[in-house]
Assembly symmetry: C2
Homo-oligomer: 483 residues x 2
């Protein structure tokens, strides 16, 4: 294990994040929140000095990161980002306790959107801007990780569509990782500009448009408003956010394919078809339930609220236009079921990911065919290609660990004295990077009341869920530290 | 598909079940509930006549059942048993609506123990005896199925330990299926006598001892008392039931091994070790929580109540000595987690089964080893033998379908207007054949209030869970009906 190399790369990443903190410092200056500027500059200076020190003390090496070093680096990056990113809110006294600031920032960088703030609007604009920006940075980091780095490490859903398949490989947009990253960033940036402009056309100012765009494209869910997107009554705003949530939950490789004219390949994408299929059916079902219950004025409005909330939970964003904890029981149960799914692989969405669910569903059907024809030969196929057994194998391991972690997390939360709904949906909402759940963490509630040890634990779980579970758990195996 | 053959075997099975109804008729005669005797004799006469008719109309064939016919037969047996077994309670007017009687009897034959009775003790003794006897018959059927029939059909957890392994095969106690069945019945009968005698030594009369023994050994959970086993305050009775619940959740093949002196093989059984390990840890944790909360007078009593309830939920029995819905949240969360597990394969216990959980847990660890050493060669082993990939594959398909069914069942229950806890734990308690859950189906509650369509649906789900999911779902695939 080349720890020096890990430290050097970590230093670069943290220095970059520190430099991004100049943006909220600028916001503080613009809005005259001048007492906050120091709270941003202090960590920037310390991180840059620390990074320089690490560079001076470690030697440059030509060697690339080995898988184990990669896992450690990824984990340390998220912990470091949250640790540093938490400083301004804590230093300024706006979030007086460090554990709360750390939780909030980890929730940001993991694009979860779970908040400990009881009155969001009471915070200065610069801090809320930074809070939303952590989403955007975390989302960008995840896309690059899942598309360019994770497949090399052998984790994440995208190895499904990897190398060994005949013809042009589908996951490697261009041969070089840095090239891939650059293209993805441009797409992400393009979507950011597009949504910001569209929201401003709907009457939001630049600040509100940007912060909500950050929360949407990262499938994060932080809003600078107490009522989340429900703050805006305009149907146009709801629809713009809905569309961009659905887009953010889509595999970003597909945008690249669209840009290069490979429409057929996009239309035939198995995961995309399942994703849109699930979204359409669920939206319709919830809309019918809401219409029947008379929750809104007619089917059209029900469809809008259903479409927003289904997109928000399915993509693991966590925005709300209304308190879905007050919806009919059946609509709640549908949303609860969605919490088990998640976005597409290669998107900013969290959860187990559609492609995994799809593969296991096909595997289930497969087993039944075997029962009837024990000597038959059947293949699971995705995107017209046969899926290797070792991948189904890996996915089943993933899903199992995911469920075990859900139960362990429920137990940890329940140990604080919370009821079953709160405990179990807290587990779902943090491991799946969703944000809100049911019970004490319903959309109008928050995570402030949890004991400190639960906040630390949930911070860890948000990170574990965000980084595809294996990436983090592997570090705790004795195997990892053996040579 | 040879439907005539399926019908002939079905006719024999239903005739046998009808003949078993002579026992409660005898109980009715003994206790002077003479008006009930007719309610038992009527279905007996009709079923025997029907069976004779089927025999007359179908030809005898030498052919053994093909897998597909086996699946159909198993499903029809449980449906038929519930349909016939429901008649006495309905005919006598004691359970006035047939849907309720069918649900109660299906709950019995599937060893679930979910009841629609609001005042159990109001029913005549003969009916309560029959109700408990359906557990015992269902449990016996399941042991024979899982040990002797399911492995031949390729379902159930026991194919894990099957044929291809070198040396003497562990699942085939004796080469012939009928021999195997006979030995298992003798063991089952021996345990029944043992528990009945031990309970009578604790002060129960023969009737109470027998009915509680039926509910225990089948991991069913029906009690003729409103307060379940909590009716008895004697610690001795609680402990006897606890021990026999744990024994009923154990693979019955192991008893045969014990009887034939193969102690080492039993002690080295991977599933047994995991089962006892989980049980011991969980009991201790709950006991500590209860002690800390001061729920009972000291650690000893806490341990007794914890041990009883942990055994009851882990083995999917569903008996209660106290209302665990009133226990501290953390203890509830532990019990909730146990609802995902279940007994050992080859036991009367339901749920996903320990051996499946164990295999997937090993598979999860396995994947992490691969991440670190992509070129390494690792094996999953159970009982010292390497597990074939195709089996891990089948298990992952099973677990996935199980979870999908849990979510679908939650949605169906929620469509009746019930909250999340009720909906989700109803799904867990019926698919896992447990009985009680949380919310509206807590131990002191019952299933009476559900709408009829939910009762029919849950009857189907209890059967699907009891028959290893695949066995039932496969019938609904187009593949099944194609030649």
């Amino acid at each position: 294990m080349n720890l020096a190399l890990v430290l050097r790369v970590l230093a670069i990443l943290l220095a970059l994040i520190a430099l991004f903190m100049l943006l909220p410092a600028g916001v503080a200056w613009y809005y005259g929140e001048t007492d906050l500027i120091g709270s941003f500059l202090t960590p920037i200076v310390f991180v840059l000095m620390g990074a320089a020190l690490i560079f001076a003390l470690t030697r440059r090496t030509e060697r690339v990161l080995a898988p184990r070093e990669g896992f450690l680096l990824v984990a340390l990056s998220w912990i470091g980002a949250a640790a540093v990113g938490a400083v301004p809110a804590w230093l300024s006294g706006e979030i007086p306790r460090y554990v709360d600031a750390f939780f909030e920032t980890m929730s940001g960088f993991t694009t979860t959107g779970a908040t400990i703030l009881t009155n969001i609007e009471a915070l200065p604009r610069a801090l809320l801007f930074w809070r939303s920006l952590t989403h955007w940075l975390g989302g960008m980091g995840i896309i690059v990780l899942t598309v360019a780095i994770f497949p090399l490490l052998g984790v994440g859903g995208l190895q499904l569509m990897k190398a060994e398949a005949p013809g042009p490989s589908v996951d490697k947009i261009t041969p070089k990782v840095t090239e891939t990253a650059k293209i993805l960033w441009l797409i992400y940036l393009g979507l950011t500009v597009a949504q910001t402009v569209l929201l401003m056309l709907g009457g939001l100012d630049l600040y509100e448009a940007l912060t909500h765009t950050f929360g949407t494209l990262a499938t994060g869910g932080f809003s600078p408003k107490n009522a989340s997107v429900g703050h805006y009554t305009s149907a146009y705003v709801h629809i713009v956010v809905t569309v961009f949530m659905v887009m953010a939950g889509t595999n970003f490789i597909l945008y690249y394919k669209l840009l290069t004219g490979r429409f057929r390949s996009v239309l035939q994408d198995s995961e995309l078809k399942a994703y849109f299929g699930i979204y359409a059916v669920v939206t319709l079902v919830i809309a019918l339930i809401l219409t029947q219950a008379g929750s809104y004025s007619g089917f059209g409005e029900s469809l809008r609220f259903a479409g927003f909330q289904a997109a928000s939970i399915l993509t693991t964003t966590g925005y709300a236009t209304d308190d879905f904890a007050l919806w009919p029981a059946a609509a709640q149960a549908v949303l609860f079921s969605l919490m088990f799914l998640g976005g597409c692989a290669g998107s900013t969405g969290g959860g187990m990911k559609i492609v995994r669910i799809l593969t296991l569903a096909k595997q289930g059907v497969h087993e039944m065919k075997y029962l009837i024809h024990p000597r038959g030969v059947f293949h699971i196929s995705l995107n017209g290609q046969s899926v290797k057994k070792s991948i189904v194998y890996a996915i089943s391991g993933f899903v199992f660990l995911y469920i075990i972690l859900l139960l362990i997390t429920s137990l940890v939360v329940a140990s604080g004295g919370y009821d079953l709904v709160t405990s179990f949906t807290t587990a779902l909402a943090t491991l799946g990077n969703i944000g809100p759940g049911f019970g004490a963490i319903a959309p109008t509630e928050n995570y402030a009341f949890f004991q400190d040890y639960i906040k630390w634990y949930l911070s860890f779980i948000m990170m574990t869920g965000r980084l595809e579970v294996f990436t983090i758990l592997v570090i705790f195996t004795p195997h990892f530290w053996r040579d």
